[in-house]
């Protein structure tokens, strides 16, 4: 377990903050793509687990994979410690190509411009001074890294 240097919460804090584990709600990278669901009736793409299609509420959701390419909706650099993430670290909200909007850590500590092209990757990348726990989704700016 990661040492909790972050602010303490009396709420359900999750394992990353030194609390008990909770079922992980984060999107995941599986076989190089973002795992999610698509509605069989209306085609709506969803990133978060849902009981049925939240768009048409009629269709059943079947597993689907998205990206890994996408466009930045907005990015920021956070200068607060959050869980095991030491500041500064960058986050971006990304619209995956023909897929859902997901939030992910950025592998470079800078504000990614709105509309810039990125690729989502998994693994244990670094975001700022911290590394993910292996279950995070990361944003790689296009033209960087590999």
């Amino acid at each position: 377990m990661t040492a909790a240097s972050a602010p303490i919460s009396k709420r359900r804090a999750g394992e990353a903050l030194g609390g008990l584990a909770v079922a992980d709600p984060r999107p995941r990278i599986v076989d190089g793509r973002v795992a999610g669901w698509r509605c069989g009736a209306c085609g709506h793409a969803v990133a978060q687990e849902s009981p049925w299609c939240p768009n048409c509420s009629a269709g059943a959701l079947t597993p689907a994979s998205f990206g890994p390419g996408g466009t930045v909706w907005a990015g920021t650099v956070v200068h607060l410690p959050v869980g095991h993430w030491k500041p500064p670290f960058a986050l971006a909200s990304v619209d995956l190509d023909d897929g859902p909007r997901v939030l992910a850590h950025v592998t470079e500590t800078r504000v990614l411009p709105v509309g810039s092209r990125v690729r989502l990757v998994g693994g244990t990348q670094e975001s700022g001074a911290s590394a993910g726990d292996g279950n995070d989704v990361f944003v790689e700016p296009e033209g960087s890294g590999s």
Partner: protein, 384 residues
């Protein structure tokens, strides 16, 4: 509303960090002031609606223990930052429908005993588990707004300059009292510690303890009237959403509230809105219809929303200065508007204010455009 609803009395605690106080003592300060102003005693209260996010569980009845109020229905509402406004909304609707005669609404929060800094994101939430703090969510919205509308960081910061200048005039404001040297300048706001780019520390509300309360009943001569109130919840916010997070629910609530009151945005004389972060006030004023999308950034700069301007926004200092004890905030906003409409707001009085607006937005469940939003319109007694 079927029966005209009046705000009989309002009250608040002081706002700040109070390690020696508990939720009960803060709430008693607010409830006592509201009941005294309303001219009611414990036996007059038919029902109680309570707004709180972090409780603790059972806080409502623990507060009531000391007050002599008991045996009546007590309902606690959690709607994130809009919890207190939602409690007010339910109280107003209960009076309007005739369900209850005299209703107490209060909100309370003791955040300084829960968090040493910013509120810790919820581990069961996808964005929370990914490490997105609330200022980060608003920062993403601010970055999008700056890029789409060509707005500037100076325009964002001017909202903090304005509201902190207002807060200096409010003896109960968390940061108002501390500002012996007066309100910060634009340069000081921009130079304060970066929290989540582009939002600096002085553009983020502090972690605050406090309580606020109101007693509502059928409108009597001289009472501030509740013209309308609307409570909405969130809808999906996803790849189809062109607007930044948190705008759409405010617009839904505003459309309903303005329509029900028969009032236009330009008719409003004074507003208390959810400025947890500077960008929040800007997009909220757009959603309320004070201006077109993209024009909200200029309202603080032009002085339109400053005390002395055409439509002062957050004369209390807002969340940025009064502080943001989540469940108490909505009722603290209501208290300010009631004082303004009664003409008893002291140094921060908006002269001749007749119509006031309260707006609160609660967040932030990921994938939804908000948890809840409340917009209420109030007026001074039309016959006075």
């Amino acid at each position: 509303m079927t029966r005209p609803v009046g705000v009989w009395g309002v009250g608040t605690s002081h706002f700040g960090r109070f390690p020696d106080q508990r939720v009960e003592t803060l709430a008693w300060e607010a409830i006592g002031e509201a009941m005294t102003a309303a001219g009611v005693t414990a036996d007059d209260i038919d029902a109680v609606f309570v707004g709180t996010v972090f409780g603790p569980p059972g806080v409502a009845i623990r507060v009531l223990r000391g007050t002599g109020i008991g045996g009546v229905p007590v309902v606690t509402i959690e709607a994130a930052c809009a919890s207190g406004t939602a409690a007010f909304h339910e109280a107003a609707q209960a009076v309007a429908s005739g369900r209850y005669g005299t209703v107490l609404a209060f909100g309370v929060e003791h955040l300084s005993s829960l968090f040493t800094g910013a509120i810790v994101p919820e581990a069961t939430d996808a964005d929370g588990a990914a490490g997105l703090p609330l200022p980060g969510l608003y920062a993403l919205g601010a970055q999008r707004y700056l890029a789409v509308h060509g707005a500037t960081v100076e325009q964002l910061a001017q909202v903090a300059v304005k509201n902190k200048a207002h807060g200096v005039r409010n003896p109960r404001a968390h940061l108002g009292r501390a500002s012996s040297s007066g309100a910060p300048s634009l340069d000081e706001v921009l130079a304060s510690k970066m929290i989540a780019e582009p939002l600096t520390l002085l553009q983020c509300c502090p972690t605050t303890d406090g309580a606020a309360a109101a007693v509502l009943g059928r409108a009597r001569a001289g009472d501030v009237r509740v013209l309308s109130s609307a409570l909405v919840s969130g809808r999906p916010w996803d790849q189809r959403s062109d607007e930044i997070w948190g705008v759409a629910p405010v617009r839904r609530a505003a459309d309903e509230a303005f329509s029900a009151a028969g009032v236009e945005a330009e008719d409003v004389d004074v507003l208390e809105v959810h400025d947890a972060f500077t960008i929040g006030e800007i997009v909220t004023l757009e959603a309320l219809g004070l201006c077109k999308p993209g024009e909200g950034a200029e309202l603080a700069v032009s002085g339109h929303t400053a005390l002395g301007g055409r439509q002062p926004v957050n004369p209390s200092g807002g969340l940025l200065s009064r502080g943001h004890p989540l469940g108490a905030t909505g009722l603290a906003q209501l208290a300010e508007i009631v004082w303004q409409l009664r003409g008893v707001a002291g140094d921060r009085q908006v002269p001749g204010a007749r119509i006031g607006l309260v707006e609160t937005l609660g967040g932030a469940a990921s994938g939804m455009d908000g948890n809840a939003a409340v917009v209420a319109l109030l007026s001074s007694d039309p016959s006075s």
